[in-house]
């Protein structure tokens, strides 16, 4: 589905991504883990067209999509959410969702005045869809609330809802669980699983909560220092020496190893 080849992204002398190559299979929920500063978010930003890569190529279903602007990637079915939830603060939750499918016919000045009927039909359909999505995410009681007033977790749900407004092919979730309580995290996890099964969305998610990763993701990719360290099933990855080392540092590892025979 998505193939990233030898991706470099340098900020001055700092190499945020230093030759990372990953592959996200169609229909999978791929987890992306790694210590802070491993280049996960940068990788997301490059794939989503927010940052141009220094070098390397991104393919989507065989097509080279490197450096395409975000709104064009959106129309190809590649969506992403942000680590810190974004929303249109001055609009209601429903309006936020209805903004989503870009390229609606009401978007040109001409149509705004002269194609009112067509726009009304489109908007009615969108409205129904938005209400369905809100029901699915169990936040339908918030439909008319200003999005700026939502809690952090509800904003995360709204982010997920945004991806459901269109027929997404692949969705990138950046720390969807950050700052979200356990119950809400379960709801989010359920929603991701259902979207994956029922609608065939491919997911790639950055997450630090290992239980969450273990429940949802297969395979899991571990990054460190801008490179891919290991790829595999969640259980294998969590026991991989290189991964433990990247997370905990060598000092700790040598101590655990030294203590291991004794214990």
């Amino acid at each position: 589905m998505i193939r990233v080849e030898n991706l470099h992204k340098h900020f001055g002398g700092f190499r945020a991504c230093d030759g990372a190559s990953i592959e996200i299979a169609e229909g999978s929920i791929t987890g992306l883990i790694g210590p802070n500063g491993a280049g996960k978010s940068t990788l997301f930003n490059v794939i989503a067209g927010v940052l141009p890569p220094t070098a390397g190529t991104v393919y989507m279903g065989g097509e080279d999509i490197t450096g395409l602007p975000p709104h064009e990637l959106f129309h190809k079915g590649l969506l992403r959410t942000f680590q810190i939830a974004h929303e249109f603060a001055s609009m209601t939750v429903r309006e936020n969702l209805m903004m989503v499918p870009g390229g609606q016919s009401g978007e040109t000045l001409w149509n705004t005045w002269f194609r009112r009927g067509q726009i009304a039909t489109e908007e009615a359909a969108l409205r129904r869809k938005a209400d369905e999505v809100l029901q699915f995410l169990t936040i339908d009681h918030l439909a008319d609330e200003k999005a700026g007033n939502l809690s952090g977790g509800q904003k995360k749900l709204l982010e997920l809802g945004r991806t459901m407004m269109v027929d997404a092919k692949v969705v990138f979730l950046d720390e969807v669980g950050a700052g979200v309580n356990r119950t809400l995290l379960r709801t989010i996890g359920d929603a991701i699983l259902r979207l994956n099964k029922e609608r065939g969305y491919t997911f790639c998610l950055i997450e630090h909560d290992m239980d969450f990763i273990a429940r949802l993701c297969d395979p899991v990719i571990c990054m460190a220092e801008g490179k891919v360290l290991a790829v595999g099933k969640a259980q294998e990855i969590m026991q991989d020496d290189r991964v433990i080392e990247a997370y905990l540092g060598t000092g700790l590892k040598s101590r655990t190893k030294a203590e291991a025979p004794a214990g």
Binding site: P70, F74, R80, A89, S90, M91, G102, S105, G106, T112
Partner: protein, 336 residues
């Protein structure tokens, strides 16, 4: 009777002029605020865009007058306005393509875009002077008054007259219509909502599939409509002179900032606040005071707080005060 006379004087010299001047400022400030909200820079070329729009409209007005086309009692300029807007919008879109787009692509900092707009301002400044000259142009035709001072005196029997010029009436009516349409547009239509979305959160708007270039184009077109309308109304009400429009930049920006940059409602409020402060502070209150106060208290002097030469100092002072005490403006705008 004295009280009524005082009220009439007040309406004649303060209320009506301030409302019409305030409307012109509000339209100007709306353009500035929209560009700031969506393109994220202070467009210093806005005053000269108003001059450009007014100039094109004047040229069309002269052409229509030469052909004998008229919509009397309304001024011919009203008929020429749509053409002025079309040309100005075209000019803005070309400027965007040739100038601003380059800096946007390179993700230039706002301050660089401000300097770029300063350059555009100088060029427009020159273009307008080359085409129509630096002198004063009058293009107001049609009926001059809705109510003239003489008629008013005859009608009411008061000793003071109330003149309501048609240009003032036109300003108020056109402003009301433009503002209503603009707010309907921003709040109710898909295009307006994408503009608000883009202003709220640019990253998210892009990732929702909103085409930024389209939003930018629409913004320039609306800015052109507002600037041309404001420029023509100001020219009809007073007179057209390129330098006056350059000077208008200060009260227009003061209005936008007082109301909170990026907030359309604030721009309108700001426009009226600036206009009323300017007019009341530079008005000679002697006549009103003479009517209202007992004879013994009547002022000998003009009772004018500031000479009209200082009217731009008023907007500047308000601007400074607001920036010190409420830097985001009265209605919360965006961070500057």
């Amino acid at each position: 009777m004295d009280f009524l006379n005082a009220l009439v004087v007040l309406a004649n010299f303060v209320l009506i002029p301030a409302v019409s001047y305030g409307s012109q400022l509000a339209l100007g400030a709306l353009g500035v605020t929209l560009v700031y909200g969506i393109l994220r820079f202070s467009n210093f070329a806005h005053g000269d865009t108003m001059a450009f729009g007014a100039m094109v409209t004047i040229l069309f007005t002269w052409a229509f007058q030469a052909f004998g086309l008229s919509i009397a009692p309304l001024p011919t300029a009203l008929l020429a306005l749509p053409f002025g807007i079309a040309v100005t919008a075209g000019m803005m879109l070309l400027t965007d393509r040739w100038v601003y787009q380059f800096y946007r692509r390179h993700k230039a900092k706002p301050i660089i875009l401000v300097m770029v707009s300063l350059g555009v301002m100088f060029i427009l400044n020159g273009v307008v002077r080359v085409i129509i000259g630096p002198g004063e142009q009058r293009f107001n035709d049609g009926a001059r008054f809705i109510i003239s001072a003489g008629d008013f005196k005859k009608m009411t029997g008061l000793s003071e007259g109330l003149a309501f010029r048609s240009s003032q009436g036109l300003t108020i009516v056109v402003t009301l219509i433009s503002v209503a349409v603009l707010f309907w547009f921003l709040n109710r239509t898909r295009t307006g909502k994408s503009m608000r979305a883009y202003s709220d959160n640019e990253d998210l708007a892009l990732l929702s599939g909103i085409n930024p270039e389209k939003v930018v184009r629409v913004t320039w077109i609306i800015a052109a409509i507002l600037a041309t309308t404001a420029g023509v109304l100001y020219g009809l009400d007073k007179a057209f002179k390129p330098f006056t429009y350059f000077q208008l930049l200060l009260p227009v920006f003061a209005a936008a900032i007082v109301g909170g940059l990026g907030n359309p409602l604030g721009a309108i409020a700001g426009g009226y606040i600036i206009a009323f402060s300017e007019v009341t502070l530079t008005y000679a209150w002697k006549k009103v005071a003479t009517y209202m106060l007992p004879d013994s208290l009547a002022p000998d002097g003009l009772a004018q707080l500031l000479s009209t030469d200082y009217k731009y100092a008023v907007s500047f002072t308000i601007l400074v005060i607001v920036l010190i005490f409420k830097p985001y403006g009265l209605f919360r705008g965006k961070a500057v």
